[in-house]
Symmetry: C2
Subunit: 138 residues, 2 copies
């Protein structure tokens, strides 16, 4: 009887964790959710937006190739400076390795050169800064 | 023959748009991708993170109820101030109506009171500021 009660409590606990965390106990591995931030030179925003429109292939295929999906970029002004905020999901098994391979792609290098000239890394950074992920609900 | 060539060109054009924009010509309506930003009082970050952990139900069920999915929050410091960046996807048909209903939920009001005390809206804002969405790749 005690065991049955304990099992019942355990089942409730697992149910609560599953419900609250939003992750089912079984199913595919959730992706790594990545958030990044970098400054953008305000005088380049029109051109930056043109380059990122849906009709420009850019390096979209390379993002797919290296497992970066559901990739969004947003712009906003904070205290008189403009920033870009990127969100994407990585579903590969070797983020460091895949990012090294992406960086080595000549077409990505050319694209980064174009974008780098429009961007201002945050103090102490050389490119996009990684943000801390503190909440997720599916 | 001319018609066949034109049809061929049209097919290539549709294919290119489908490839580059990342949206297939048919299929479910893509969600509205929402990005928001707000300041956070640094002394509250530990408690904010505790409240947003996966084992706290918070208002997760209400986000689902009003069609806000794949909801992430990130934290980062910019020029000595701390900010929260939220990303989520709305798949309902009436964002304004759904947000009004969410705001009217007593449990959400209590949750917002708790969070509001930890947050600092950007200059000119009263709550989270909406960012401009400029890029998406699936």
């Amino acid at each position: 009887m005690k065991c049955a009660i304990q099992l019942g409590i355990a089942a409730i606990a697992v149910g609560a964790v599953t419900f609250c965390s939003g992750f089912a106990a079984i199913g595919p591995k959730p992706p790594l959710r990545i958030g990044k931030v970098i400054g953008i030179r305000p005088e380049t925003i029109t051109e930056y937006k043109r380059l990122h429109r849906g009709n420009n292939c850019a390096v979209r295929d390379l993002l797919d190739k290296y497992h970066l999906h559901n990739f969004s970029i947003f712009l906003h002004e904070i205290d008189g400076k403009w920033y870009e905020f990127a969100y994407c999901e990585y579903d590969g098994d070797d983020l460091k390795g895949d990012m090294a391979k992406l960086s080595a792609e000549p077409r990505n290098q050319k694209w980064m050169e174009t974008c780098d000239a429009m961007q201002i890394p945050l103090r102490g950074e050389t490119s996009w800064a990684n943000m801390e992920h503190v909440f997720h609900n599916p």
